[in-house]
């Protein structure tokens, strides 16, 4: 469409923005990479020296690393499971005509607007507190011993909080996808003798496949780096029971002042994220093709 001249001038015009973005991205990455090969502890300034892969070895052989890796995958997987299944069901429900539809839809979206730290504190103190939490009250109502959620089921508790936050996102995307389903297709399926369940499996679910893929991909990006919820509730504990990779990098850098080790952890986290992305795309990427 454009002539050669306009194309080259367009390139020139875009260059500052592109270079800026590149620098913004590349410089921190390069510096992280560089730091990861140094012995660099904030407690011993001036003693930086090249240590090769020592930091990587140190981070990978840390017993906390294995736990953190498993916790990260469990957290991502658990939240995805809850939000996709729950989101689909909520979307089906909200797609039905009922009185006060607009306000209910607005309310359903609300959790997404609550900051992670705030929502985590609300969950911690108002729901999961073993003495005056709502859950403790309900448990006592049935004559049961209240559960100390954050102490006895830390990872599950955090999964719940994060899932609560992301459920509206999934619901919203799946609801719009549901609304784009052709009415005549549903009627045709009805005439063909499909009941509610068959209609869902054969017509609705395939139609939602692409939206579900988008939900999974976007959520995975954000869920790999869950941090605030852990920091304000369990601080990764007890032990390492609720430490994920992001939190482990944080403890390395800011609690042990080991910048080198934290950088190595950061690079490992990037590599892990890419591995996850690779498998995700292999698994569900074909849904995105038109």
């Amino acid at each position: 469409m454009a002539t050669l001249h306009t194309r080259s001038s367009a390139r020139l015009m875009m260059a500052p923005a592109v270079i800026m973005l590149l620098v913004w991205m590349a410089v921190p990455l390069a510096m992280t990479l560089y730091f990861s090969f140094l012995r660099y502890n904030l407690l011993t300034p001036g003693l930086e020296e090249w240590v090769g892969f020592f930091n990587y070895k140190y981070f990978l052989t840390d017993p906390a690393f294995g736990d953190a890796l498993v916790n990260t995958l469990l957290l991502v997987g658990g939240v995805l499971l809850i939000t996709v299944i729950g989101g689909t069901m909520l979307a089906l429900l909200l797609d039905q005509p009922f009185f006060g539809q607009g306000i209910v839809r607005l309310m359903v979206i609300a959790p997404f607007f609550v900051m992670p730290t705030v929502s985590a504190l609300v969950w911690k103190n108002m729901f999961m507190h073993p003495v005056y939490g709502l859950f403790a009250y309900v448990w006592k109502l049935f004559g049961l011993e209240p559960v100390d959620w954050l102490a006895s089921l830390p990872l599950f508790s955090i999964t719940m909080m994060v899932a609560w936050q992301w459920l509206p996102f999934a619901t919203l995307i799946l609801l719009t996808a549901l609304q784009s389903l052709d009415e005549e297709q549903k009627e045709a399926a009805e005439m063909d003798g499909a009941g509610f369940f068959s209609k869902f499996v054969y017509i609705v679910l395939p139609h939602l496949a692409r939206a579900i893929t988008v939900v999974i991909l976007i959520e995975t990006i954000f869920l790999l780096s869950v941090f605030a919820e852990i920091l304000v509730t369990t601080s990764g504990g007890p032990g390492t029971q609720s430490t994920n990779i992001t939190y482990l990098v944080y403890t390395q850098a800011l609690l042990q002042f080991d910048v080198g080790g934290a950088s190595a952890g950061g690079i490992i986290a990037v590599i892990l994220a890419n591995i996850v992305a690779f498998f995700l795309i292999r698994l569900i990427g074909k849904n995105l093709e038109a």
Binding site: D182, E184, Q185, E187, A188, A189, E190, M191, D192, G193, A194, S198, Y202, I203, P206, H207, A209
Partner: protein, 332 residues
């Protein structure tokens, strides 16, 4: 096995009454066309028969069994939708097999029936394609295939040809008519196109504002329209309606003359007029003529008739082909 009977069926959406009470009998094996302008309730009527809408009053009987409250799947009817409503993620085979699969048929039976349907509809080479890889006509045939494998007591077509181009429409019209000859199953066909109605129907039901204006065979409607609406709707180009003194001369409030029942001459005739637009089709010539004292008249001449804009022509309506209507629009 395939007669449908509507008794006092009515439908309203909230305050708005779309179909005031109507009765209709459809015989087994008939090809019935519901025709009318858009918004006349013809699609709604079809959906009532299909069970996709609940009736507000009255009864629907299929083969003498009341089905008013029966869900669509249990009525043993098959429907072809305007948008075809194919399942986009299933292959042609999957689409055609779907109703059988839902009915819990055997795999072998399904394969055989799908194969048979594909052969009848020339779809054998396309069975493994997805709907989006098909042309409009092929999609239409898949939709029909999905309907015939169910071996329904009646087929319902909801403006199935309106998304096709003109040439394809003529083809599909023929194919559907041939299918009806082969299967001899009751078919109900909704369209706003009177040409489709005239060419395909055994029986036409002309609807207007939810009311049945007239029911009859195509030629019956053509020859003896009951009122102005049917007279104007059936036939192309439209019947000419003439009011005033000329109509009085025939003892009517309005008289109607079809364009093909007007003799044209350049030298002599009953009405004198000036040619406005002349449409030369080769096989026919349509003339839009403004006539003195009679108004604008459309006339058809077979073959070629060389007149141009501004020429003077004389028109004579054929004897015995003049339709007379009273002040309420009823035929006299």
């Amino acid at each position: 096995m395939g007669s449908i009977r509507l008794e006092n069926v009515s439908k309203s959406f909230g305050e708005a009454t779309v179909i005031p009470s109507l009765d209709l009998d459809i015989e087994d094996g008939e090809f019935v066309v519901f025709v009318g302008p858009s918004g006349c309730g013809k699609s709604t009527l079809l959906r009532l028969i299909a069970g996709l809408e609940d009736v507000s009053g009255g009864r629907i009987l299929i083969d003498g069994n009341e089905v008013t409250d029966t869900p669509p799947a249990k009525r043993r009817l098959a429907m072809v939708f305007q948008s075809y409503a194919l399942y986009p993620h299933m292959s042609v085979r999957g689409n055609i097999a779907f109703p059988l699969k839902m009915a819990g048929e055997d795999k072998a039976v399904i394969d055989k029936k799908v194969g048979d349907a594909a052969r009848v509809l020339n779809l054998t080479d396309y069975l493994d394609r997805k709907p989006r890889q098909l042309s409009g006509g092929q999609r239409q045939r898949v939709a029909i295939g999905r309907a015939i494998v169910r071996e329904p007591t009646a087929f319902l077509f909801d403006e199935p040809l309106s998304n096709l181009d003109a040439a394809l429409r003529v083809n599909m019209r023929l194919e559907i008519s041939e299918l009806h000859q082969q299967l001899a199953t009751t078919m109900i066909y909704v369209t706003h196109d009177q040409v489709e109605a005239m060419t395909m129907a055994d029986k036409i039901v002309v609807l207007n504002a939810g009311r049945i204006e007239q029911v009859g065979s195509p030629l019956e409607l053509y020859r003896n329209p009951k009122n102005l609406f049917v007279a104007g709707f059936i036939g192309s180009p439209k019947m000419n309606f003439i009011n005033g003194a000329t109509a009085k001369g025939h003892d009517a409030a309005t008289i109607g003359v079809r364009p093909e029942h007007i003799a044209l001459s350049t030298s002599e005739g009953l009405w004198k007029g000036t040619v406005g637009v002349a449409e030369h089709l080769g096989s026919d010539t349509f003339l839009h003529i403004s006539t003195e004292g009679v108004g604008n008249v459309t006339a058809r001449v077979g073959g070629e008739f060389s007149v141009r804009h501004g020429d003077t022509v004389y028109l004579t309506p054929e004897d015995g082909k003049i339709h007379r209507f009273d002040a309420d629009g009823k035929a006299l």
